[in-house]
């Protein structure tokens, strides 16, 4: 198997296979209440405490749609540069399952709220555009719990009826890296928009993964299998890798692929057929007679368009043009809205170059180490900006700045105060520095002789000694200048 950054091919015998991937991402809409009922969507509540009579499908209960969820879907559509459909229809998808109280899911089938759009991926090999087929609104199901009671299945309906956006990509993805970049980009756009928190641990973002393989150069697509409900990027990648290899094996052995729904078993790292789904595969979609077609006006859409924030692609472009950042730096800084906000806050009063280095270097390392989001950063943008200005104006050296940064990380203290309290201010008084340097020269007469006789490498030694007895506070630039004068 070859793993090239731009090409993901599976080799068997003398054949090379290309892997074709499409994702149906289920993104939970950020909203207070559910799509068709007024119960809470909050994560982590006690089982069945966020269930209304509508969510539990009591006789005579009817759906009433949440306007905010419609807005969230339209905003996301705008973010995906997609066509917003002014008329869309809610359909019922009929199937029986313990955690589907109505016996049907309200979804959108033939007429989704959002049509075709696209997402641009920033790959090491360059940009790649991935097509979006559609985005539709639908209800989430509840949760069946199989591992508490050995005889029975327990059902929790807290999630039942929570609004989801199903975002369907075209089969444009070709590698595990692209899948990773695509999911992250989608998540980033939705976070910028505030339409989905993208929290995969809490199930706010899951995907059905469609995988097929075809011989390299072949035009038509192979038969695909759909791997249901994979809830992390890593599992998506593992599932694709397993499934693509399985399909290649089948083909190489002279078999053919059955179009089917499969399940990824995270413990065994395998996909397997969900036969039970197959008999009930006929969903008998039809327009939900409890709801009317959803019609939205140009005004409704325009109002939302007006309030769309700057999205990662545009922000990246601006960062490169305005702040002269490299594409690489810009990508890192815009990947997450909070990061870009932090960055812009820091550079309001500080040097861009130094700020970029400190944020992508020290700060990211710190957050990584403490496993924190930038919004939880122990160092505020304001204080980091102050620190950077202290470096820039020579109050402290870069090296001292690192120890100040460490102290700041423990409690977001004002760097000026830390410097004062610890006496870390850079020594930039030439008279004071001369005293130190004179001491170094006096104490090391032999080294001075060696230096003067041509061993110029020793210059660093004198700088080091001076810095050492200054406790690291001496202004290195001045020390250099004075030393040069004294030693000639």
């Amino acid at each position: 198997m070859s793993k090239n950054q731009s090409e993901y091919l599976i080799k068997r015998n003398n054949n090379e296979y290309e892997v074709v991937i499409g994702l149906e991402v289920h993104a939970q809409v950020l909203s207070e209440s559910k799509l068709f009922s007024s119960s809470s969507t909050k994560f982590g509540a006690e089982p069945n405490t966020q269930v209304s009579l509508v969510d539990a499908a009591f006789p005579g209960m009817l759906p009433v749609i949440n306007e905010f969820c419609i807005k969230q879907a339209v905003k996301t559509g705008i973010g995906l540069k997609a066509k917003i459909n002014k008329k869309s229809i809610f359909d019922r998808k009929n199937y029986f399952y313990a955690d589907l109280p109505q016996g049907y899911q309200i979804s959108q089938y033939k007429n989704p709220i959002v049509g075709e759009g696209s997402v641009v991926l920033d790959l090491p090999s360059g940009e790649k555009k991935i097509g979006i087929e559609r985005l539709h609104l639908e209800q989430d199901a509840g949760k069946s719990i199989h591992d508490i009671d050995p005889q029975n299945t327990l059902v929790d309906l807290n999630r039942s009826g929570v609004a989801l956006m199903e975002i369907v990509s075209k089969p444009d993805l070709r590698s595990l890296e692209e899948v990773n970049a695509y999911v992250k980009k989608l998540r980033s756009i939705m976070r910028y928009l505030g339409t989905c928190d993208g929290n995969m641990q809490e199930g706010s973002l899951r995907a059905d993964v469609n995988v097929s393989v075809r011989k390299k150069g072949q035009k038509e697509l192979g038969t695909r299998c759909e791997i249901k409900n994979v809830n992390s990027i890593k599992f998506m990648q593992m599932a694709i890798e397993y499934e693509a290899n399985r399909q290649v094996d089948v083909i190489e052995e002279g078999g053919s692929i059955d179009q089917e729904t499969r399940l990824f078993d995270t413990k065994k790292n395998q996909t397997r057929s969900m036969r039970s789904k197959e008999d009930a595969h006929d969903y008998r979609y039809f327009p939900d007679p409890d709801l009317l077609p959803l019609e939205i006006s140009d005004k409704f859409i325009d109002e939302l368009k007006k309030n769309i924030p700057e999205l990662p692609d545009e922000k990246k472009k601006r960062f490169i043009e305005k702040f002269k950042l490299s594409a690489y730096e810009a990508n890192i800084l815009v990947s997450d809205n909070e990061t870009s906000k932090y960055f812009e806050e820091v550079i309001k009063e500080s040097d861009v170059k130094i700020s970029t280095n400190w944020i992508t270097g020290e700060l990211f390392a710190l957050l990584n180490e403490k496993n924190l989001e930038i919004s939880e950063s122990p160092i505020s943008a304001k204080n980091l900006s102050k620190l950077i200005n202290l470096i820039k104006d020579g109050t402290i050296s870069g090296k001292i700045a690192k120890s100040v940064f460490e102290i700041m990380a423990d409690g977001n203290k004002d760097p000026k105060k830390i410097i004062e309290e610890k006496g870390l201010k850079q020594q930039s008084d030439p008279k004071e520095l001369e005293k130190l340097i004179d001491k170094v020269i006096n104490d090391n007469q032999d080294k001075v002789k060696e230096y003067k006789s041509g061993k110029e490498k020793l210059f660093g030694f004198f700088v080091g000694q001076t810095m050492k007895i200054s406790g690291g506070k001496a202004n290195p630039k001045l020390v250099n200048e004075i030393l040069k004068k004294k030693l000639t």
Binding site: A57, F58, G60, L62, V64, N94, G103, R284, F286, L291
Partner: protein, 484 residues
């Protein structure tokens, strides 16, 4: 003074307001009669003790500003009633106690009315004779062994037997008008969206409407103005200004244009029905209305389209009865086994038949041929009415193709049973209002009804026409209390 049970709703309201009679007296009169009328099998669940208590309470602190002050009313057991068993006539809901109240019944209680009990009906309102109820047949007071019609059969029977002064039913394809016609009473299927569907056990969502069933037109108008309301809990509820229909009743229909659709005659109509219809035509003519021959060309396709749309919606609406959240459960080895046993044992044959039809017409490969086709036909039927209403104010037809039949007569032939609703179904498909009023008796002495169909939200107009006709027809429902 006349017997309490013989008074109309309007009379009861007036007497109570004038303090000539108490809520307790009315309620007791009805409870006593209900208790002696068990043979009719009209009630699935009674709430007599509570009703008497509530009547007492009302009398102690009466509010005469209400439209139905202290009036006891029994309702079809398709309306969810808080803390009182609601079965929809089905085994699968035979132990279900809602924690909520339907909007229509809540509107009754808000206007001072008191619940007497829950009336028998065809299982999930699927039937035209009340023979599909898990709780057994309902007898029609018209004659022993006769069906009261359906699905609001318990309601029609209780109303004509004077076990309740008025009642509310639901009408998906004729379920108010056909039993009204069979029992010599008045029944209105309102415009779709007039009465909230919240808390009514759903049969076919795009067709279901609750409506009043009464002994005369004025009561019908009064009850309709109570139960009709805009409801933000039902997305198909229509927000329009509701009138005081009963105060605005007007017998003068001079100059009204009334259409007579020729296609209703073509369906192999019996001579008796034809004559009844002609009498109705003559009566409105005498009152100064203008009669116009009209055509509703797609009428014959209404019933086939209905038997696609209604079962399709029902198959989905009834998927929630799976033994998990409420109702009957039959134990199974695993989840699927439990589902299949529960639904097989919990539903009766007619309901299962319709679920099967609905599942089939929606299933992969058949959707376009059946469901989509039916929705197109529905559009054509609606267009027919729209076209005709450019020329006429209302349409007059018979309510049913025959009078009441006997219990068991049609149970083995579903299609002949379905044909009962041939005159009523097109109105549900088009979402229009229609009222059935008693118009005469057939040779066997069984009542027959005429149907007045209006424009959408033009209930006032059809009340007025019905009011005018009622006076001229002067129908007397002479029922001997043979069951007591």
């Amino acid at each position: 003074m006349t017997n309490i049970i013989d008074l109309t709703l309007v009379e009861l309201v007036n007497k109570i307001k004038k303090k000539e009679i108490s809520s307790k007296e009315i309620t007791k009169a009805y409870v006593d009669r209900c208790k002696k009328s068990k043979k009719l099998n009209t009630f699935i669940t009674d709430d007599f003790d509570n009703a008497l208590k509530k009547a007492d309470k009302f009398d102690k602190k009466p509010d005469f500003n209400k439209k139905l002050p202290g009036i006891p009313i029994a309702v079809k057991d398709l309306f969810c009633t808080k803390d009182l068993k609601t079965t929809a006539g089905s085994k699968i809901l035979s132990n279900f106690i809602p924690s909520y109240e339907s909007t229509v019944t809540q509107n009754l209680w808000n206007e001072g009315s008191i619940l007497l009990g829950k009336l028998n009906c065809d299982e999930f309102a699927m039937g035209s004779s009340n023979e599909t109820s898990f709780f057994g047949n309902v007898q029609s007071p018209i004659g022993k062994g006769l069906v009261p019609g359906g699905s609001s059969g318990g309601s029609a029977s209780a109303l004509s037997a004077k076990l309740t002064p008025v009642t509310v039913g639901t009408d998906t394809g004729g379920s108010i008008r056909q039993p009204a016609s069979f029992t010599g009473t008045v029944g209105l299927k309102p415009t779709y969206g007039s009465c909230s569907r919240y808390g009514i056990v759903a049969f076919a969502s795009s067709l279901d409407q609750a409506g009043p069933m009464t002994r005369n037109v004025k009561d019908c108008a009064l009850l309709f103005e109570v139960i009709s309301s805009y409801d933000n809990k039902d997305s198909t509820s229509v927000n329009f200004k509701r009138a005081n229909y009963s105060n605005k009743l007007n017998k003068s229909i001079k100059g009204k244009k009334i259409g007579i659709p020729k296609e209703y005659r073509a369906e192999g109509m019996s001579k008796e029905i034809d004559e009844l219809w002609q009498r109705g035509i003559n009566i409105v003519k005498e009152s100064g209305a203008e009669i116009l021959d009209i055509s509703l060309p797609n009428t014959k396709y209404a019933l086939p389209a209905y038997y696609i749309v209604a079962p399709a919606e029902a198959s989905s609406n009834l998927a929630r009865y799976d033994g998990v959240k409420y109702g009957f459960r039959s134990p199974g080895e695993n989840l699927i086994d439990m589902y299949e046993k529960t639904r097989s044992e919990g539903f009766g044959d007619e309901v299962k038949r319709r679920i099967m039809i609905g599942t089939y017409v929606l299933s992969s490969g058949y959707y376009d041929a059946y469901y989509l086709k039916a929705q197109k036909v529905r559009q054509l039927i609606k267009n027919d009415f729209d076209e005709v209403y450019k020329k006429v104010d209302a349409i007059l037809t018979p309510s049913t193709p025959t009078s009441a039949f006997t219990i068991g007569e049609k149970t083995n032939d579903p299609v002949s049973m379905y044909l009962n609703d041939i005159f009523t179904v097109p109105i549900n498909l088009a979402g229009l209002p229609a009222i059935s009023i008693p118009a005469g008796l057939d040779s066997k002495g069984y009542p027959l009804g005429l149907q007045i169909i209006g424009k959408a939200f033009d209930e006032q107009n059809i009340f007025n026409i019905a009011y005018s006709m009622e006076e001229k027809i002067n129908f007397k429902n002479e029922i001997k209390s043979w069951w007591m």
